[in-house]
Symmetry: C2
Subunit: 122 residues, 2 copies
């Protein structure tokens, strides 16, 4: 699970949307941010991540250890630098993942809000 989360961040940062989507199970879903409409299915996610990378060029790094549990779930603190809402932003995020028995991501919920967003220093 730790490796999958690390790859999620590194592939996003590398602009590898297909590689990100390949970390997900066939029927996986994401809620990013939490409260928004769920996106369901790896092929939907493939299009979503390709678009997000194209628009926002996210550079995502872990800011602390991945919390891996005995319940096929993990949570990680991340910082994303991206072009968001017309500005270069730094966003502090916590992503919560669940996994299937093959180690593929079944779901991802992203926790952040306006209070976690700041203009990037130049």
């Amino acid at each position: 699970m730790r490796l999958a989360v690390e790859r999620y961040a590194s592939r996003l940062s590398a602009g590898d949307g297909d590689g990100v989507a390949d970390l997900f199970a066939d029927q996986a879903w994401i809620e990013d941010p939490i409260g928004s409409e769920r996106k369901v299915g790896r092929e939907v996610l493939r299009v979503f991540y390709a678009g997000a990378i194209e628009r926002a060029h996210p550079q995502v790094e872990l800011t602390g250890p991945v919390r891996t549990t005995n319940a096929s779930a993990a949570a990680a603190p991340l910082r994303s630098r991206s072009f968001f809402g017309g500005r270069n932003m730094v966003i502090d995020i916590i992503d919560v993942f669940t996994f299937d028995s093959d180690g593929l991501i079944e779901s991802m919920c992203a926790y952040f809000g306006p209070s976690n967003m700041a203009d990037a220093e130049s």
Copy 2:
């Protein structure tokens, strides 16, 4: 929500189990760690936190910003120093909270596992 999470950590560290329980709604539940049996109801939580404080003397600090969302949910990275399983341990945790319309905690799920636990330095 940020204030509630900060109080959760500071009251735990101060040994104020009643103060921790008072942050929760009447029918709130926790899953700590995720995958364990849920504890349901503020009075159950009052007993649980009193016992945890008595046994483990947790010292809990935030290690990054509380992620507050527009969906009545928040997530926070925490480090707990406590007496756990017969040893002084440092545990890296991510807690995910949901809140009711009065700002009381409705649920809390704690994400951590063996890989997030280390012996405390003396």
